[in-house]
Symmetry: C2
Subunit: 188 residues, 2 copies
């Protein structure tokens, strides 16, 4: 107890994901996760409130990362360019953690509660982007529309990225997806 463990959060995360994939989310207990990680339950609860948080603790940091990038975009950036900056920051956030993302999506897809939680996370993220756009002087409904469009691109790109045999990075895919949306929406 109290002992510092190098990258304990990361070890819990890897152990939990292995067990969720092997035995299913419902069947995995915090005790199982701690044992697999070679750490104690007590240490687990210093990092996560419960096993569900192992899957969602990244969401808050992701949101913060995207909001900061949007807020920090050049003053002359349009709403959609600021959203593009947020999407670019999400790509840096994910890096090359495609395997973790793929497993996480599989676990979430298999459980109704987790799917709901994931949808709530996206709705919260969309609202946060819209708020940050309003902070840049973008009025409504433009701020909400651009925020929702950003999430639309994010979601579609994410599914592509974790797809079997996909080789492109999340950054490439999300950038191409935004461009596709802009081409689709173009007024002829």
């Amino acid at each position: 107890m109290g002992r510092w463990e190098p990258d304990a959060a990361g070890r819990f995360r890897s152990a939990a994901m292995e067990l969720f994939v092997e035995h299913g989310y419902e069947q995995t207990t915090v005790a199982d996760i701690a044992e697999r990680a070679g750490l104690t339950r007590r240490t687990f609860f210093r990092y996560f409130a419960d096993k569900r948080e192992v899957l969602f603790s990244g969401s808050e940091r992701l949101q913060q990362t995207m909001v900061e990038a949007l807020t920090g975009a050049p003053a002359q950036a349009t709403a959609i360019e600021a959203v593009a900056a947020a999407l670019g920051a999400s790509a840096v956030f994910f890096g090359d953690n495609r395997k973790f993302a793929r497993q996480r999506l599989k676990v979430i897809t298999a459980n109704a509660d987790l799917r709901e939680r994931e949808l709530i996370k996206f709705a919260t993220l969309s609202a946060a982007l819209a708020e940050a756009l309003r902070g840049r002087g973008i009025t409504e409904p433009d701020a909400s529309l651009a925020g929702e469009a950003g999430i639309a691109v994010f979601r579609v790109a994410f599914v592509l990225w974790v797809g079997k045999s996909e080789q492109r990075s999340f950054g490439e895919i999300v950038s191409e997806s935004l461009t596709r949306l802009r081409v689709l929406a173009a007024i002829k």
Copy 2:
């Protein structure tokens, strides 16, 4: 029992919404709804599986309406034009039921389970639009992007429509919102 009641579903819906607004969703029972509607519990269950379905039974019909309109759009319509046709059909679907929509949103917003259900409904609707777009020969990721964009516009327009002192019809707002998104997304 078995007796035909003119517009029983509509009477249950109005009675339920009154009670949800007056006493809260959780506190309202099917017996309360039946009593307020002047009908029996037994009749209620011929129309709805439970009280939650009073709030969501329209969602399936809405989805069907939008998918049909998308599928029936002229062959030369682009993906976004086909989505515009679906949004136009949703406006016909809602008609001037703004008061019901406003109350419904209030009830849903106040309850976490209902909010989750509403988010799931939107995700299902987005997937259905994407599938209908693929049926028109639109490939991925364009079909998913256009479907998600349509839902983004729908959600933003809906919140505007039910806003206090809003006078424009849903049809006007949804059409303007789509145009706003297209202007925002325009590649300069």
